[in-house]
Amino acid sequence: MFSKRKITIIWMAVLLALFAAGCKKKAGPPPPPPPPPAKPEPPKITPAAPVVSQFSAEPSSIQRGQSSTLRWGVTGETTRISISQGIGEVQRTGNQRVNPSETTTYTLTATGPGGTTTSSATVDVTAPPPPPPPPPPPPPTITLDKRLDSDVQDAFFDYDKSDIRSDASATLTRDAAALKSILADFPNATIVIEGHCDERGSAEYNLGLGDRRSTAAKEFLQQLGVPADRLKTISYGKERPQCTEQNESCWQRNRRAHFAPQ
């Protein structure tokens, strides 16, 4: 099968392979061993004071009524661990919810054979924000409008007349009280008394009639003590009717003295 020469070559190859493998396995010298650990000093006999590893208040700042949590941890030999502010004796580690009503400093005291260690944590207590202020008063003109609308009534007149009739007299007497109050509440306000007419007479004549109506109303109020310098008059004649139906009900509504802010 194989010739002798071939066998020789195989052997040589095998040997060569073995040799190569043997070379690879041959590593360098091993690393020096680590140095031996240093020999610790023998501990002293005197015991150490306890160590407060943690004493905190989370959160450290609260609003009145909220709570904060104290967390603590103490190591070392202890005989007693306590926290001030009435918390008293506690374990080496722990937490405690507190809700102080004012800024409070908590002191943790750890006592052991080695001495006493203290640590403190402060919880800042802030007052809660004030409630929102009451809504600001609406601007005076709007209120003045509304006050006039709600508190002061129109005075009505007979056709082609500017005399104060008995019902208008009663109305204007109530109006006088209301106007005094309103003028006191709005010290810068001036009230305009508008004189109006129904549509029947001529526009030119009604302009004069409206002026007489507003003037009559002003003089009546003046006699009841409403300050005249805070009252102005203007006639609109029949230019600004509040209704346009052609019947007495509407005409009466338009024959009036009306009050408006200036």
Partner: protein, 451 residues
């Protein structure tokens, strides 16, 4: 060339005014026999035809509006309409045309149209000019010279130009009877069409409306100066009602000084145009009659009654008396007094309510609004001879009829009426005939008719 020569000759011979005896004096009366006039529709050559609708309407309305002619309906005219004199033949036995067709003058002077006068003509656009050739013929057979008017009128080639020539031709036709056209005069009034009552102006036919004030307030009661150059009115533009005086061309505030008062209103001009009479609440209750300079200075009261007195109007002819509205005897009535406030007389009898006096240019007649015979507020327009107190009712309860104002011609009145629904401006003749609505937009009132 021949035609041009003809026009020159014709133009020189125009305005042959008829003698007054033929038709009587110029008075407007329903019973007066007015000459019958026919105005067939004019046609235009080429481009000019586009504007002949506006032309024909304007010509007809103007001439009819004068009240001087009896306008004969177009439906009664012959079929052939002459466009120039050569189209009209005088009766000739040898004429080839059949009678009745319109070619013969006799066709127009005999029934059915039976005209006294015939206006005819045509228009053309030439070199960018609208040319209206117009004739007025006296077609009656016994007249020796038939042509009364033969003239050319020029305008721009658009509707405005066509209307202008119509107004001018109509003015000549009206003048042929001694009348005066209202074309070129102006009507001022108050309109709330913008949402605020403002003073407006327009032509007498309601065209060419233009806004005078822009106060966005209330502006009303305009009056116009005798020469037509200024208006005075009442406005709330500065809060309380006060007087304003404006020039109208150009529109300018002449800065009238208002005396301190809660009301200054209803200004009108004196006949010399140099002073203002008005009503004011100054120094008492509203209102007394005052007089002041055109700028409002030098004011002084004329009347002294302690009642409402408004709307003073000085007699335009004499300048020595004032009509005004007063509540002296109760409901508002028309009164008259001298310029110094003396000799106060009530003109209206005292019943109903009377307002809005307006002097006729002759200074003898007033127009006014009065509720006599009707419910309170239902005004009608009346005229009154101031000397005799005789009055005539011109409107008859067709809505409210107020604010009459005489035209400068003394033949027309303008007034406010609600007869068509809203407040609108109308014109009519002095006898109440031919009412014509001039405005349509919004509410319109307080018209005054000036030069």
């Amino acid at each position: 060339m021949k035609q041009l020569l003809w026009f020159t000759i014709a133009s020189l011979g125009v305005l042959l005014v008829l003698t007054a005896q033929e038709f009587g004096p110029i008075t407007v009366s329903k019973n007066a026999a007015r000459p019958k006039l026919g105005i067939p529709d004019f046609r235009g050559a080429a481009e000019a035809q586009n504007f002949m609708g506006a032309f024909n309407q304007t010509l007809w309305d103007d001439v009819k509006g004068s009240g001087l002619y009896d306008m004969v309906a177009k439906t009664s005219y012959p079929t052939f309409v002459p466009q120039q004199p050569s189209d009209l033949q005088t009766p000739a036995p040898s004429a080839r045309v059949a009678p009745g067709g319109g070619h013969l003058m006799n066709d127009w002077s005999s029934p059915p149209p039976q005209l006294d006068f015939l206006a005819f003509g045509y228009s053309a656009a030439q070199n960018g000019v609208f040319i209206l050739s117009g004739w007025l013929y006296d077609v009656r057979p016994n007249v020796s010279n038939h042509q009364v008017i033969g003239k050319r009128y020029l305008g721009t080639v658009d509707e405005a130009g066509a209307r202008k020539t119509a107004h001018e031709f109509a003015a000549d036709i009206i003048a042929a009877l001694g009348g005066k056209s209202t074309f070129g005069t102006h009507i001022y009034f108050a309109s709330s069409r913008t949402g605020h009552k403002e003073i407006w102006a327009m032509d007498p036919d309601g065209k060419n409306e233009r806004q005078i004030t822009h106060y966005n307030s209330i502006s009303d009661f305009p009056s116009v100066s005798p020469d037509g150059s200024k208006i005075a009115f009442t406005s709330w533009a500065k809060v309380t009602p006060g007087i304003f005086v404006f020039s109208v061309d150009p529109v300018r505030d002449l800065r009238y000084y208002n005396q301190n008062a809660s009301v200054n209103e209803t200004p009108s001009f004196t006949p010399d145009g140099k002073q203002i009479v008005y009503a004011s609440s100054a120094g008492g209750r509203c209102c007394r009659i005052f007089i002041a300079g055109l700028d409002g200075r030098g004011f002084r009261p004329i009347s002294s009654a302690s009642v409402i007195e408004v709307e003073p109007k000085v007699n335009p002819k004499t300048g020595s008396e004032i009509v005004f509205v007063s509540g002296r005897s109760g409901p508002q009535q028309i009164y008259k007094m001298n310029m110094d406030g003396a000799d106060v007389e009530r003109l209206t009898p005292g019943n109903g309510e009377a307002s809005n006096p307006s002097w006729h240019p002759d200074g003898q007649i007033i127009a006014f609004a009065w509720t006599q015979g009707f419910a309170t507020g239902n005004f009608n327009v009346f005229t009154m001879d101031v000397a005799s107190r005789q009055y005539v009712q011109l409107t008859h309860s067709e809505g409210r009829n107020e604010n009459p104002s005489w035209a400068p011609d003394g033949v027309h009145l303008v007034f406010m009426s609600t007869r068509s629904g809203r407040k609108q401006i109308w014109s009519m003749l002095a006898d109440g005939s031919q009412p014509q609505q001039l405005t349509t937009q919004g509410n319109n009132e307080s018209p005054v008719w000036g030069k």
